[in-house]
Symmetry: C2
Subunit: 144 residues, 2 copies
């Protein structure tokens, strides 16, 4: 784990536990967007006794601290990713593959936000569909 991150933890009064290091390790190693359950599974090899509740507590903490990202693909569970720079997603509804999109449309809404007198602090854009592999498997005609 990077010195920078360790320092960031200490500065804010959080401890650097085996559990937290293991969770960050798992997320940093894979580039994937994992559910808490998936993180819990994969973390077993590094830190076998790590409890699912602890995984949840730490994923939420890390996301609040903007050390990791939290995404919602609308399937009823959150996913977490190591990448923390702002971006959007393209999500395959069949295989779950995710593409990160770095174009952000939010600036186009600035005048609209002003019109409605909102101070906007966050936003999300996610696109859903089928990647080419799944499209071919599906057959090309008449599928949703």
């Amino acid at each position: 784990m990077s010195k920078h991150l360790k320092q960031r933890f200490r500065e804010r009064g959080y401890r650097l536990t085996r559990q937290r290091e293991a969770i960050l390790e798992v997320l940093a190693t894979t580039g994937e967007h994992l559910t808490a359950e998936e993180v819990h599974q994969r973390v077993q090899s590094i830190c076998p006794e790590l409890n699912l509740a602890t995984v949840y507590r730490n994923l939420n903490l890390l996301a609040e601290q903007k050390i990791i990202g939290k995404v919602d693909f609308g399937d009823g569970r959150s996913r977490f990713e190591a990448r923390s720079e702002h971006h959007h997603h393209l999500y395959c509804l069949k295989c779950g593959r995710v593409v990160d999109l770095f174009f952000c449309p939010v600036h186009l809404y600035e005048s609209i936000f002003q019109t409605y007198r909102f101070r906007v602090t966050a936003h999300q854009f996610e696109a859903y569909g089928y990647c080419m592999g799944c499209e071919l498997l599906n057959g090309k005609v008449g599928k949703p």
Copy 2:
């Protein structure tokens, strides 16, 4: 309820029940974005015995049929709205006020979707922040 809607139900082999009419009535009367629980509460005055499970079944059915809209503001429950034309949202994190946004950025992503060979079938854009009223109540300095 409009003749058009009634016909649409029959054509597809769905029945027009008191419960369904009451749910549509509630959503059409308010312009708000209601959770299933909220729909259930408000529907009591029209149809007191209507069960929450039935509310869920019908909200999902109506959303699948694109008669109503289903939105997710990331707080762990879905909301439903009478307006079914495609649009986006501005959501106040404090009071829950919602503004509908009719500018859609998805066309700006077309070439990106092609690059990744995705056929995109749906997308969402939601902005979160504080409306002017809540902003004033919060105080203007240093709040998230």
